[in-house]
Symmetry: C2
Subunit: 650 residues, 2 copies
């Protein structure tokens, strides 16, 4: 007697003899129904719910009554209301079977902590429980061959390659588990872990290695859940604040590269330890890792010499994604764990940019997206599903608060938001670490220490809107003299705070102009190559991108003119990309393919870059009137051709 | 204008435009013509000779005149008379091209030192010289990607996997070699070595790990030449003379297995050092290694626990051939070198037996071969191209001189050859380390220390032929009393040497009877399974097999009756098999396939083994009259059924 079975949401259907288990029917139809224990009622991953469709209502008796397997399982773990174990429940009548997302191998996981709506979960590492025949004097096969035979028969895993350390513990593990073990297999090919009996714990760590900070995310590879997130300072800062000073250190010191490699690996391993402690798991539970970073961080973590990245032609050792044993990188995880490093795009567009692309997915849509990640170099990606272009632009460290008279890193005490009264020119500002603005009660001026990147951007943009900084970037005294604009040598400065003294000097404006012109020119060059005058969307990635106000970025002309509602922070896009690659083999294939076809535009060899750079020195731009922006704010009039400019010497 | 080209010995032919190089024509036709440098006139591996066939005589001007490439080459290395570089010589007229064996990638190499006529050379490791495009600012690809692109374009090597250490030296090596490097690739897949510029040195070491001694052979992977051969004692002897006592040591001591592993690996690494010193090369030149050994040595070298091999069901950790990084085995060769261990056949039939099978090749012929390797266990293989059977038989250590009253290892001072005068019963014997026999002038009786395995076999066989030892193995006093046969308790002993006293006691005969009966019964069991009464050929492998005289082995009934001319020593067959696997990927595939289909016969569970064992206790055998042997020697009459046996107590 056969019964009709329809699986939802796949819609796959077939006829099966009465008494067939739901899991067997799902396997026969190729339905995506998970299982670690292979249908033994242990893992609980094959849970299903009886569904309905016209003519086939959801009646519990369409499946066999729960038997001892399900009762036993419920004694150990909760089984949701109406949930049945697919491996135990047998088909009794025609039935519709709903496979909930948690029971699918390939699924989207919704999460909050990582700053992204949903991540595909499809890990390259899978666990397989298997029962192995005991050795038999009459048929002398090796333990390994019996294990491999059982894995092939039960899981269809043929041609597995076995890590030597697995072989060394194989005999003892088989006997300890009473000839039942769980193995970890990577890419359906490498058998690299083995445990006695049943086990369903497989964790992964995604690392985002920045020049300043390192972030780590501990994830459950089977569910996609983020179990812990933590950060640490990159101890390489002791060898140089910015990237180029670290490359210089390597050039000057014979063991420079290996020392920088050693300290950053040490920090990663320490962070790994903190993550597993926070989640109350073991280092040995971490079976897979992923890594993003700019090209120099990428090279140093992998033990590759970064010197070539310091001079033209900025040749990377490799642009490919790599799989490196964690042990070779000094990371103490499971002995067979590997580190997947995302591909690099070009000499200054690294695995961090690849991670951001994977996370933001400009290549997945039709809208033309400009993805900007600002650091000492701005990494820029422009495109959509038709075509992707990438470039890096030498912004220098001004946006990080360096080269600014009162500049500092974004840390407590730094001015981060600035408003300037258009008529009185009086400022108000907020500081990292204080909840109130400077004109509100309780503000502590004594705790003000300097101004960070987002603060200087807002200050200059506000001064431009107030008419103090002209379109050429010159600080000009107002017609009504103001105590705020003071002469200093042959130029003027704006006094943002008098006690302590925090000024915006003419040199500060020049430094920001140079940085923002480089950024704008890079974006403009990509637009030229793509053949467009405008982009549909701008995403600002990274910590700096999260801090700056899109409005002021546009008033300053850092980014091209764009509908302000389409300019937004992308959060830690590189780190999210690392997590996506950690959790999904499909995501890895995707970013490897995308990285290969991204067209690299080298700003240093493009004459047009210099032209764009010069035009972009103006605020917001020499030739582009920023029509979309002009609808929102009243930009100061531009000097007309021939108009004589007032200087202090006038 | 096209010209006809015929290659010999392949017979491949084709038409090519005048001016095509011989190498290009060979590649187009798939002719087996070697090259490391890729046709740049550096390596000299593509040497060819102008040949002839009817209508196309061997005229030098059928190829272009030697140009600067060949002149330059001859300035560096000799070019044989009439030899041309295939990459430089261009086709001018119709021509026959002879490819000499040395210019073929797949070839047979004739050698003397290894005790085998010819070895196929077809190494899994190959060197490839390649010129890599320099990095270019306008087209930012990684160094690795440019190297891989060049290897794919020039050598057709696609999808290469790169060892992380190669990546770490890649940048410096490319620049040091002026963008020309030689890479080492294993199995056409793993890029594991890189050197600046051109290089054609690739060495390998084959290890044969015996319980007592370890042998190593250093070979040139490109030519197949043996550069050095050396041996060492297995230092595990300090933990137990025979295999079972070492397994006992492991069972008794918690770190026993790791200590035994450590000392044997240390000995292998030391031997490796001696081999490279002898050949005046570096450890880093050794790119590939191979390994044979009995199952317990195999497990201990690989770091696998051998305890399971000490008790039924004698389960191996694995029977498969393995590729293990040399560094994981504590062997200091090239950092990317790997150790290929041959497959094991069964719990007591190890990688050494697989090596012997590969070397002796019973599966390659139609004659039914019995391959015997005697140690504490005798490993037996019987078969031909139709079918192969294997078994091990518990001979015990008697053949190694243990359990014998005056027994000792085959070492200086040990009696190794014995003759007994049929009428006087006077013995003469020879001793290891002395050139003369005991009845010749200059023999030094003071240097006699004991009797080794081959000596006791000859002594008992000669005593049987002289009528002193009867077919039941009883030492009987002759009818004419002799000072040589002396009473001892309730039995008799034969005095082989009086000063020092070396006797053959009744217990000695019993010990040898037990050992030889086990060996014979094992062989007989395999013959039963095959369904034959006689074998065509017997090969005696290993050191013991080389020492014993086939005639006496047969008189004693150690081996089944056979045409004596078809019984011979196989030399160090296991070690030769290791060398074959070192030098040839085809040989590896061959032995892996053969090992999978060998039928294992477990003596311990076969009731017939006991029957055969009892019948084989008689000398030479209780029921088998040894007709072929009887044509050569006069065997003493067997006791007729019912004949009353004389005992000392008679």
């Amino acid at each position: 007697m056969t019964r009709q079975v329809v699986f939802s949401p796949s819609g796959r259907r077939g006829a099966f003899p009465e008494g067939t288990t739901v899991l067997d029917a799902a396997r026969a139809l190729g339905v995506d129904l998970d299982s670690v224990c292979g249908g033994r009622g242990i893992c609980g991953r094959c849970q299903v719910v009886i569904g309905s469709r016209p003519g086939v209502e959801a009646r519990a008796d369409r499946l066999s009554e729960p038997g001892p397997t399900e009762t036993d399982y419920q004694g150990r773990r909760p089984l949701g209301q109406g949930h049945r174990l697919g491996c135990a429940a047998r088909i009794v009548e025609d039935v519709v079977i709903d496979v909930p997302p948690d029971s699918q191998v390939h699924r989207q996981v919704v999460r909050k902590r990582a700053g992204v709506a949903a991540l595909p979960v499809d890990p390259v590492v899978r666990l397989h429980y298997v029962e192995v025949p005991e050795p038999d004097l009459a048929s002398p096969t090796g333990d390994l061959e019996r294990l491999l035979g059982a894995l092939e028969q039960e899981w269809g895993l043929g041609g597995l390659v076995v890590d030597p350390p697995v072989l060394r513990i194989l005999q003892a593990t088989l006997r300890q588990g009473g000839w039942a073990v769980t193995v970890a297999v990577r890419q359906g090919r490498d058998l690299f872990g083995i445990w006695p009996g049943f086990r369903d714990l497989a964790l992964g760590v995604a690392f985002d290695v920045g020049s300043t900070t390192i972030a780590g995310h501990l994830c459950d590879l089977l569910t996609g859940a983020v179990l812990a997130t933590n950060g640490a300072m990159n101890p390489q800062i002791g060898f140089g604040e910015d990237l180029m000073s670290r490359v210089s250190y390597v050039m000057m010191n014979q063991d420079g590269a290996s020392r920088l490699t050693e300290v950053v690996r040490g920090a990663l391993d320490e962070l790994l330890g903190e993550l597993v402690t926070e989640a109350a798991v073991d280092r040995g539970d971490v079976l897979e890792l992923s890594l993003v970073g700019n090209p120099i961080m990428h090279h140093l973590v992998l033990g590759l010499d970064p010197r070539e990245l310091g001079t033209a032609p900025f040749a990377l050792a490799t642009t490919s994604a790599l799989d490196t044993p964690a042990s070779e990188l000094g990371l103490h995880a499971h002995g067979g764990a590997r580190v997947y490093s995302l591909p690099c795009v070009a000499g200054h567009v690294g695995a961090d940019a690849a991670g951001a692309v994977l996370s933001e997915g400009p290549h997945r849509g039709v809208r033309l997206q400009l993805l900007v990640d600002v650091g000492t170099n701005a990494e820029l990606v422009l495109g959509n599903h038709d075509r992707l272009l990438a470039a890096s632009s030498p912004t220098g460290p001004a946006f990080e608060g360096a080269q600014i008279s009162s500049g500092q890193r974004a840390a407590p005490g730094a001015i981060e938001r600035v408003r300037v009264d258009r008529s009185t020119l009086h400022p108000r500002f907020s500081v990292i670490g204080q909840d109130v603005w400077s004109d509100e009660a309780g503000f502590d001026f004594g705790a003000v220490t300097g101004i960070c990147g987002s603060g200087i951007i807002e200050a200059i943009a506000e001064l431009h809107l107030a008419g103090v900084v002209d379109t050429d970037g010159v600080i000009r005294p107002p017609i009504e003299p103001s105590s705020r604009v003071v002469a200093s040598d042959r130029t003027y400065s704006y006094v943002l705070c008098s006690e302590p003294l925090i000024e915006v000097t003419q040199n500060d404006v020049r430094a920001v102009q140079l940085a923002k012109a480089a950024l704008h020119a890079g974006a403009r060059l990509l637009m030229d190559h793509y053949g467009v005058e405008q982009v549909d969307e701008i995403r600002l990635a990274g910590a700096f991108g999260s801090h700056i106000d899109p409005l002021y970025a546009m008033v300053l002309g850092m980014i091209p003119d764009c509908d302000l509602e389409q300019v937004s922070a992308a959060g830690n896009a590189a780190g999210v990309g690392a997590m996506m690659a950690l959790l999904s083999g499909v995501a890895r294939t995707e970013i490897e393919e995308v990285a290969r076809v991204i067209e690299k535009v080298e700003t240093a060899v493009e004459p047009r870059f210099q032209e764009h750079f010069v035009a972009a020195l103006a605020i917001p731009h020499k030739t582009d009137p920023y029509p979309l922006l002009s609808e929102l704010v009243e930009l100061p009039p531009r000097p007309q051709p021939g108009e004589r400019r007032r200087r202090r010497s006038d």
